[in-house]
C-alpha cells in the first residue's frame, strides 16, 4: 500500500557507487541551488513566504537529525564533536563552520558558516535566506544533546554580511 506521507530514511539516498559509476557522487552547487530556489518559488506562491520558510526549517531539522545519526559520532565530548562536525562540513563541501562564541554551560552558541552552500555569492537581497541551514543546525544539536534547539540566522551573505551568522540556543 502506498502511504499518503513519506518518511525519509538515509538509505533512500541510494547507492551512488552503483548508480553513478561515471559521474560520481558530486554535482554542481548551481544545480543544488536551482532545485532549492525553484522549490522556494513554487511553495511561496502556493503557501506564502512565511509558511515556506517554516517548511524549509522543518526539512532542515530532518536533514540535521539524519546527518548527525549517519555521519557524526555523538559519543564524542562537545568540543571534539564540533571539531568533527566542522571537518565533515568541509569534507562534504557544505560550508566552513566556525564558532565565535560558545557558552558550554547553557549550550548557547554563535556560529558562522562561510562559503555556505545555500547563500554565498547571492546578490544582496536585504533578508536572511538560509532557513534550511537554521533547521539543519538545530537538528544536529537536538540529536547530539537530546534537547530542542532554536537557530536564528542573524547575518547572511544575502544581507551583505559575507558570512552567515547563526544564534543557536536551546528552547
Amino acid at each position: 500500500m502506498v502511504k499518503d506521507s513519506y518518511d525519509f530514511s538515509w538509505e533512500d539516498l541510494g547507492n551512488l557507487e552503483i548508480g553513478r559509476p561515471n559521474l560520481g557522487n558530486e554535482t554542481s552547487v548551481a544545480v543544488y541551488r536551482l532545485m532549492q530556489f525553484t522549490f522556494k518559488d513554487v511553495l511561496s506562491k502556493e503557501l506564502g513566504k512565511e509558511k515556506t520558510s517554516q517548511l524549509f526549517i522543518q526539512a532542515g531539522l530532518v536533514a540535521g537529525r539524519e546527518f548527525c545519526r549517519n555521519i557524526l559520532n555523538t559519543s564524542l565530548p562537545l568540543n571534539e564533536f564540533i571539531a568533527e562536525l566542522t571537518q565533515k562540513l568541509v569534507d562534504l563541501k557544505v560550508g566552513i563552520l566556525r564558532v565565535e562564541k560558545a557558552e558550554m554551560d547553557n549550550l548557547k552558541f554563535v556560529l558562522t558558516v562561510s562559503e555556505d552552500l545555500d547563500c554565498s555569492g547571492l546578490p544582496v537581497l536585504g533578508e536572511t535566506v538560509c532557513n534550511y541551514d537554521e533547521g539543519f543546525i538545530s537538528g544536529i544539536f537536538k540529536e547530539y544533546t537530546g534537547k530542542d534547539f532554536l537557530t536564528k540566522e542573524v547575518d547572511c551573505w544575502a544581507t551583505g554580511d559575507r558570512t552567515c551568522r547563526f544564534d543557536v540556543k536551546p528552547v
Binding site: 564540533i82 566552513i96 564558532v99 562561510s114 554580511d161 558570512t163
Partner: protein, 431 residues
C-alpha cells in the same frame, strides 16, 4: 550652488587631489558637495550616488581601522559593499579568538582551515601541544602508578605537585599542601621525635644550592603524627641553569627497618650463644680467650698489671659419682653465681671446661690477685651448696709478664693450681 558639470568636476577634483596628497584625515572622506544645493536632474542623481560611495568608502576605512586596532566587535552598515571582505576577515578573527581560548582551556581539537600560512602555523602549534599533552599524560601515568612518593617543590620549598603515592604514604592531600612549605610539615621531627633543627636540614641546603642527594635514613612526619622512616632521593630541577625547584622521591622503609632490626637481634643472640656457657651463663672458653687477649694488649700498652686466677672444684668427680650429674651441674651453677657476685664488674669470669674456671683481674698485681683468690676461696668454703657436703676449690694465680700470650699466662696459672691440688687442695698458690 553647483550649477554645471564643470564646477562639480572642479570641486570633486580638488577634494580627491587633497585626499591623495594628505590621506584621509581625522575628518574622513567627506563628499564635498551638499546634494541639497544641486538642482533636480542628472547632476543630483550623480551626486547622490557619489555621496553614497564616499560614505561607504569612509565607513569602510574607519571599520578597517578599528579591526586593525584589534577591536573585533566593530560594526559597519550591512549594505557597505567595500566592507564585505573585511566582514569575512572579522568573522575569522572572532572565530580565532574563540579557538585560542579553547586551546588555552585545554581543547586541542581545534584546527584552522582556509587561512593560508596562518592555518599551517596554528595547526602546527596544536600538533606540538598535542605531543606535549601526550608526553604529560605519559608522565602522569608514570607518577600515578609509581610505588614511590613524589613531591615537586618550588625554590622556596612550597609544594607544586604531589603524586597519589605521596598522598597515600604521608596522608596529606595535594590540595591542602599546594603552595605551602612542605618541609615544616613532613620533615619537622627527627627519628627520636624531637623537633628538627631546620636550618641544618639537607633539604634547606638542597634548595639553597641546588644540590642532589640521597638519604636512606630520613624520617618524615605523617599527617597522623606517625614518624615514617624513608629513603629519599632529591634532585634539583634546573631550567636555563636557574633552579626551578626540587623533585623529592621517597619510599617507606618501615618494613626494611624492621627486617634489619630483626637481623640485628638474631645476630646479637647468635653472638651471645657463641660466647656464653650454657650451663652457668658466664663466658665460655672461646670468649674468654678473646677478652684475655684484649686485656693483655692493654696491659702491654699501659704497663698496667694483669692477673689470671684459675680455680678447680676439689674432688668434683666424687660429687658426680655420689649425687649424680644433675647435682654436679647445680654445684657448678651455684659456684658461678657466688664468684660472679664477688668479683668486680671489670673482671672477666669464664668457665674453662669441666669444673675449671678462670678469672681475669685487670690492674691488679700478683699479691692483690692472691688476696682476691683467697677471698673467693673463703667465700666458697663458707657457702652452703645443694649437696650435704662442703664444696671447696683450689686456686692458681699468674701475673702478666712482658711478652706473655694468653696461653702462657693460663699455663702458669694452671701450674700453680696443680701445686695447690698437690699441697692439699682448698688453697691458693702463686705462679
Amino acid at each position: 550652488m553647483v550649477s554645471n558639470s564643470e564646477s562639480l568636476y572642479k570641486i570633486l577634483s580638488d577634494c580627491l587631489s587633497q585626499v591623495q596628497a594628505t590621506g584621509i584625515g581625522p575628518d574622513g572622506l567627506v563628499f564635498p558637495v551638499d546634494c541639497a544645493d544641486v538642482p533636480e536632474g542628472e547632476h543630483k542623481i550623480f551626486c547622490q550616488n557619489l555621496e553614497q560611495i564616499f560614505f561607504m568608502l569612509n565607513e569602510s576605512y574607519r571599520y578597517a581601522q578599528s579591526l586593525a586596532g584589534g577591536e573585533l566587535n566593530a560594526e559597519v552598515s550591512r549594505n557597505n559593499i567595500f566592507a564585505m571582505p573585511l566582514k569575512a576577515l572579522q568573522a575569522s578573527l572572532k572565530h580565532l579568538t574563540w579557538q585560542t581560548r579553547q586551546v588555552a582551556a585545554g581543547d586541542l581539537s581545534q584546527k584552522v582551515s582556509f587561512l593560508g600560512d596562518f592555518s599551517l602555523s596554528f595547526n602546527l602549534m596544536i600538533e606540538s601541544l598535542r605531543e606535549k599533552d601526550a608526553l604529560e599524560q605519559r608522565l602522569k601515568t608514570i607518577t600515578d602508578t609509581l610505588g614511590e612518593g613524589i613531591y615537586l617543590v618550588d625554590p622556596h620549598g612550597c609544594l607544586v605537585f604531589a603524586n597519589p603515592e605521596a598522598e597515600h604514604l604521608l596522608g596529606y592531600r595535594e590540595e591542602e599542601m599546594r603552595g605551602k612549605q612542605i618541609f615544616n610539615t613532613i620533615h619537622s621531627r627527627q627519628e627520636d621525635g624531637t623537633i628538627h633543627p631546620h636550618v641544618d636540614t639537607r633539604f634547606a641546603s638542597a634548595i639553597r644550592h641546588g644540590h642532589a642527594y640521597q638519604d636512606d635514613n630520613c624520617v618524615f612526619s605523617c599527617q597522623s603524627g606517625r614518624l615514617m622512616p624513608v629513603s629519599v632521593t632529591c634532585r634539583p630541577v634546573l631550567f636555563d641553569d636557574t633552579l626551578q625547584g626540587l623533585v623529592i622521591a621517597f619510599r617507606d622503609i618501615t618494613e626494611q627497618k624492621k627486617y634489619q632490626q630483626s637481623l640485628l637481634t638474631i645476630n646479637e643472640l647468635l653472638e651471645k650463644q657463641a660466647s656464653i656457657d650454657s650451663l652457668t651463663g658466664i663466658y665460655n672458653r672461646m670468649k674468654f680467650l678473646k677478652l684475655l687477649t684484649v686485656e693483655i694488649t692493654k696491659a702491654q700498652r699501659y704497663k698496667s698489671p694483669l692477673t689470671v686466677i684459675m680455680l678447680d672444684v676439689d674432688n668434683f668427680k666424687n660429687v658426680n659419682d655420689d649425687f649424680g650429674h644433675h647435682s654436679g651441674d647445680l654445684v657448678l651453677r651455684a659456684l658461678a653465681k657466688v664468684i660472679g657476685n664477688s668479683i668486680r664488674t671489670s673482671d672477666i669470669f669464664a668457665r674453662w671446661g669441666g669444673e675449671e674456671f678462670l678469672v681475669v683481674t685487670p690492674n691488679i698485681d700478683l699479691n692483690q690477685g692472691l688476696q682476691v683468690a683467697e677471698k673467693l676461696r673463703e667465700q666458697l668454703s663458707e657457702t652452703t651448696f645443694a649437696i650435704p657436703r662442703p664444696v671447696t676449690a683450689s686456686f692458681g694465680v699468674s701475673q702478666y709478664r712482658e711478652g706473655d700470650s694468653d696461653t702462657s699466662m693460663i699455663h702458669r696459672a694452671d701450674e700453680a693450681l696443680y701445686r695447690a691440688k698437690k699441697n692439699g687442695r682448698n688453697r691458693v698458690e702463686p705462679e
